[in-house]
Symmetry: C3
Subunit: 363 residues, 3 copies
């Protein structure tokens, strides 16, 4: 597949200069670009790398002097990272799953399959399932009974949608994503040690050893439009009401969303984020990699949590947090700096005690 510089600029809504009829076949990093590649040099730091490569065309940062760089053509874009979205969408060959319904798929006769849907080999579509038009169900997928999947979905291989899950349009699921596993909810006959600890933040009290009885998950999962779920991530079914993921929210790989939790719209949950049950997350929230969220709290709109943050209590809207437990990012930085000076401060205090009280504090 080849593209002219003009075609690419048009697709990006960007400005093309020079020989805009020049054709390229793929995008490349500046230093590795050959004469048929479009070099991606979107900030001045790539200027030198561009000289090392052989690109004749590049996407450049706004003020770049493309002619001095010896380029035949260039594309200028005000927000380069955004241009990456358009460019990569244009050039993505995808997984090349075959169109149509594979003869080795097992599809319940009561399932309603929309127009131009493709279903890969060894996929299983359960009773009364609805799949919207143009959706692509990859190989080895499982769509449970009564599940509803909107239009233009793209399921990679080995994706699970449990029974009665409801998902909007343009859903993307990476390999091994699990929507609608049963929630993790158990109860002991009498109050358990863990319940005592939560109440007192102290010890397990006089709780006896007991076995756990299962609370089943009747609530299912409801997912809005334009949601993406990463590889091997899990979104559990709610107990009575549905676990919910709002429109436009994206989950990275190995993310866990517990039962009854509601995630708002346009959130990002990065790799290995874990959200417990019954959490209420607002809109436009960004949780960095490996963030953990304890159960039964809320996280307000626009909250940003740095990687590794453990959120153990409510977070008001608009706050940036970090740490374990999570606190305001600025406070975390201040405390952290103070901690690094702590060993010296202890020595200072010992010296002060010696001077003031005429004895050593270091006992």
């Amino acid at each position: 597949m080849t593209y002219t510089i003009q075609q690419i600029a048009a697709a990006l809504g960007a400005e093309a200069v020079g020989d805009t009829a020049l054709t390229i076949t793929r995008a490349a990093e500046p230093a590795m670009a050959g004469p048929e590649d479009l070099a991606l040099a979107m900030s001045p730091q790539y200027g030198d790398a561009l000289a090392q490569g052989k690109a004749r065309a590049a996407i450049l940062w706004p003020e770049a002097d493309w002619q001095a760089m010896g380029l035949a053509a260039a594309i200028f874009t005000p927000r380069p990272r955004r241009a990456m979205a358009g460019l990569t969408a244009l050039m993505d060959p995808g997984q090349e799953f075959a169109p149509g319904i594979h003869p080795n798929a097992v599809i319940d006769p009561t399932a309603q399959i929309g127009a131009d849907v493709s279903i890969g080999p060894f996929s299983v579509i359960g009773a009364n399932v609805q799949i919207g038009a143009r959706s692509v169900i990859g190989p080895h997928c499982h769509v449970g009974a009564h599940a509803v999947l909107g239009e233009d979905a793209q399921l990679r291989e080995m994706v699970s949608l449990g029974a009665r899950v409801r998902i909007g349009d343009r859903f993307i699921a990476q390999p091994g994503a699990r929507i609608g596993a049963d929630g993790f909810s158990f109860v002991t006959p009498e109050v358990s040690g863990a319940e005592n600890v939560r109440k007192t933040m102290g010890d397990i009290g006089d709780a006896q050893a007991q076995s756990w009885t299962r609370i089943h998950s009747l609530g299912g999962v409801e997912i809005g439009d334009d949601v993406e779920v990463g590889a091997n991530s899990t979104v559990d079914s709610g107990t009575i009401r549905a676990t919910m993921i709002g429109n436009g929210t994206k989950l990275d790989n190995l993310v866990h969303v517990g039962h009854n939790t509601r995630v708002g719209r346009d959130c990002l949950l990065c790799g290995q984020v874990g959200v417990s049950g019954s959490v209420d997350i607002g809109n436009n929230v960004v949780l960095g990699g490996q963030v953990g969220v304890v159960d039964n709290i809320f996280i307000g709109d626009g909250v940003v949590a740095g990687g590794g943050t453990k959120i153990l209590s409510n977070v008001p809207a608009g706050r940036a947090v970090m740490g374990y437990p999570a606190i305001k990012m600025q406070t975390h930085t201040e405390i952290y700096k103070a901690q690094r000076r702590l060993p010296r401060v202890l020595r200072d205090v010992a010296a002060l005690k010696n001077a003031v009280f005429n004895r050593d504090s270091n006992d």
Copy 2:
């Protein structure tokens, strides 16, 4: 499916009052309940929500005045969370996997399949496997050679049981659970940098760059009765002896249990918990979400670890721990509070040094 209030109360061992012949079709949260729903209002905080909904029947907290609330019938239960277990078990329609053995399953002729077992499409059952009566093997499952699975198992789709795994009765596995992957165990020809660091808690010493040789896993996995393993969780095979999970223990999603580890009975390992190899965990232990446990330590009976705790040394029985590294929960809280005051204390110490020694400490 409909249920009378009397039927539900009987199933829960609870007390029914009012029009106990009233029928309901599902459970619902109080504010969203319609006239055919059973509202779940198990503590006084739900009183107002009940008034917003249209429920005619509810499960209520012990002292609630059901008639004043305008209800036609009510169920009273002393431990409401326990009632949830009975109620949801009663009403769970499950995944509706078809009974019987699907013609598209591949079953080795030497496998011994118990009475009334069902096996879903595209599942593979290996040589000499034993599956107990009434077990449900979902679609796309893999049961490796010589594996033994007890009675009344419920495997969701895409579950892996490796060769020679042994599992008791009433096992539940969520989608993508992996039992019996090979343990992560490697060795270098000479002492490695990581070994030096573990010994000295210092640096890597004079260790040379080396490659890793694999230690294979011969020990398999042994799992007791009434165990549940969450979606995409992994329990690795032991090296020489089996990795073991005791009766009644439950693992949430994305949990990792390393090779040779023994987990006792009636434990809860919450979402994304990671237990290294050769750990010895007692009975009735609760590890909160994202807890990590270093290798070759023990955790005593009844221990409770708060979410995000990293356990780096032995924990005696009955202790509640938190933090990284894990310490007693009360001590963690005390230290944490002190930390928040740390920046101010540093200023205080500087002022003291100035006053006492007539010089500034902040250099």
Copy 3:
């Protein structure tokens, strides 16, 4: 299968003494060993356990007096953990996947399958795939279009290799491993709150609520020789250039490697490690369980990170680090000890202020 002591010693390159024609059938822990087992007692701490068991032969630590222990034969090895590698490799029966290509596999006619390759039931091999000689593709695997897999690969069940992934020789993948999911890369039309936070380490500023546009992953994944990837782990496709894993590197279960990241050779990434995008990791790096690595940093050769470490900035070669954020392991230990004394120090400072300034500091 039986082995003579002589055979085992020869396979390990170790020294055998006593009745070296004695046969054993399996390896066992000393206390549990029967008369047909080879007891593994590789350090003096196992001396007593050996007496409790019934082994007639053992692998022993260098100075052990095997005759005084009543053994008929013994094997001595200078680095016992290394002997475990040889011994377990010798005795591993493996998964016993059937040889040959199963009739229920779906293989594109354009795929090039090497000599003596075996492919399990319900596996899917895409267009133009190349699979090297003697590779074993387990059941339920998916090899995407144009993927290249070297010789002697061993794929357990339900492994995904995405389109255009390139993998060297002797690759091992545990169940559910996902190579080549799309990277997690999104952009908003205008600067987002998260971008502001990263810039200022402060709050989200005046960023407006916005939706995310996807950046596609064109770069694929390139994996060297002798790499192993654990159960349910994920390695994402790069954006423009490939995500890379060097020769000899091993990933444990539930590990995440983000897009564009390069991991060097002979690294160990332990359970649940999460590496963000565009990270550059050197050779012989060991990351303990649940370590997290923020994006766009480098980690030098030979770095060792303790379990739970969150690496938020560059780490120079040869350093041992720990903590959140990661610091030198020795500094971490020192700070940690000081923290435990912090509540007392606060009381000391209050007393000092009272003595020096005649007022209490505890306000």
